[in-house]
Amino acid sequence: MNTSAIACEGLGKRFGETTALDGLDLVVPQGAVYGLLGPNGAGKTTAVRVLATLLRPDSGRARVAGFDVARQAAQVRARIGLAGQHAAVDEILSGRQNLVMFGRLSHLPRSAARRRADELLGQFALTGAGGKPVRQYSGGMRRRLDLAASFIVAPRVLFLDEPTTGLDPHGRNEVWQTIRALAGAGTTVLLTTQYLEEADQLADAIAVIDAGRVIAEGTPDELKSLAGGDRIDVVLRTADDMLPAASLLQARLRADARLDHDRRELSLPVSDRLAALTEVIRSLGEEGITAEDIAVRRPTLDEAFLDLTGQAVEVNAQ
């Protein structure tokens, strides 16, 4: 328990009739980038708010950076950074004024707060905009300023709640690069996202949560293999061939096909990639069914997620 940056067991939290956390268990080793992945309403934000001492859990215990979030909240707060879903910065003040203010609230002396603000503006590529009011910043710049504000005293644990929601692809890339740099400097990062691509890109390990509890945990690759290994995708020329081709391939490969009528695509799990590929080509040829494309591939996190939760999540931000 002492060597992990975050450890919680049996966290429960209800809001009236809604159960937000239903016995959440989580262990995040020091220095890891850990993804909490789940659909809207799965309890991701509630989990972060409990761990960041903003919400009191109804049941269970949690330690962050070695301190109990309920009984030693002040010690926890001195060691964490938090960036929520909104850029929680003052819109009227400049970026530099914001960072100096948050630095002084972290009890840095005035001169140290100023020095740190300038350092962070440089580190987060905001030096040129440092004197401008935040109101004039782009979405990506706001998020970077928000990240900088959560990083003033080099937190041991950094909580990022959907750090790229609402950003365009360019802004998202900027934020991803920043997170990678922070993680490279040794900070433990707990990141929530509903975007599989984001978790895949950033996280060393992922916990999939649904209805307030962890339903799967592992590296991105491990989670993908939970989806049943490799798959073969077949795109047909005409929609009329969909059902005959599906029953044919299901019989030959002895597996269930997933049908996407809009794309005229069949997808089946395979164990032996090459054998399956030749079998598909041969049997379609025998029946006179024309394929436009055939591909063997690793499963995506989407499929792992679909298998685990029975519901689809969005593939990416836009």
Binding site: R49, R56, I92, F102, L105, S106, H107, A154
Partner: protein, 276 residues
């Protein structure tokens, strides 16, 4: 790497942290003034000034103050008090915007004294009210208003106005924390400032009102402060005599203390409920 200083342990050093934190949060508002003086002037001063001109000159000619006296002299203490009322909306807006945008959460997740978020807000609002009163006093001078009963009583009148504002700060913090998730409610609070003012004596003497409205208006805490300020400034009072107006100064102390006694704990309760 920048490392945060160790947490304070003794009561004295914790108090020093709390004061330092509150001052930083107050300083944020002062920086707002410096950043956008135009907006601050428009929000806090232009409106009361416009009302002074509108009521004082446009409508004032048709107004007679019961018991005699100049209407503009009658109006100025009312406008001072209305500025304190408009402060409720300013507090509600600031508190609810911070809570809705996550700024309050950022403060709460930092090693900031828990009390500082609220006390810093209260101090900032009191400072802005002092500034507003100072400028409005200057405007009063320009339209020919001045205190008639000496500096001490004039300062006492301004102190009573600020005491009312102090009570309104806690009402504002309470409402801001209670309704931050609903922008409509925040707008409603701002809209209600006017009826609160009209159901009192800032603009019109209570003795001219129908009996049932007069009953409400004289129990409006605002009316006691306005009456007390008129008495202390030596301005016309509108010739209304009742137990309430005869004890206006006493009630101008008692009402705000009572409101504070109710809304200070309520706003603390709301603040703590953010973690529920």
């Amino acid at each position: 790497m920048t490392i945060a200083p160790a947490l304070p342990r003794s009561f004295r050093s914790r108090l020093a942290w709390a004061v330092a934190d509150a001052w930083v949060i107050t300083g944020r508002d002062l920086a707002h003034w410096a950043r956008q003086p135009g907006t601050v002037i428009a929000n806090t001063l232009l409106f009361p000034l416009m009302i002074v001109l509108m009521f004082g000159y446009l409508l004032g000619g048709a107004m007679t103050v019961p018991g005699g006296g100049d209407y503009r002299d009658f109006l100025m203490p009312g406008m001072f008090a209305m500025t304190m009322v408009f402060g409720i909306g300013a507090t509600v807006t600031a508190v609810s915007a911070d809570a809705a945008r996550g700024v309050t959460d950022r403060f709460r997740a930092m090693p900031v004294a828990r009390s500082a978020v609220i006390t810093g807000r209260a101090a900032a609002d009191m400072l802005s009210s002092v500034a507003a009163l100072a400028v409005l006093t200057g405007c009063g001078w320009l339209v020919g208003w001045q205190p008639h009963r000496g500096a001490t009583r004039a300062v006492a009148a301004l102190a009573l106005l600020l005491l009312l504002r102090f009570a309104f700060v806690w009402i504002g913090i309470y409402l801001g924390l209670a309704f931050y998730s609903s922008p409509e409610a925040v707008t409603a609070v701002r809209t209600l400032e006017f009826p609160i003012g009209f159901l009192g004596n800032p603009f019109v003497a209570i003795s001219t009102m129908p009996v049932w409205i007069a009953a409400i208006a004289q129990w409006n805490p605002l009316s006691s402060t306005v009456s007390a300020a008129r008495q202390l400034f030596g301005d016309p009072t509108g010739a209304h005599s009742s137990w309430i107006t005869d004890h206006a100064v006493l009630l101008a102390v008692a009402w705000p203390l009572l409101l504070t006694a109710v809304f200070f704990p309520l706003s603390l309760h709301r603040y703590r409920r953010l973690s529920r």
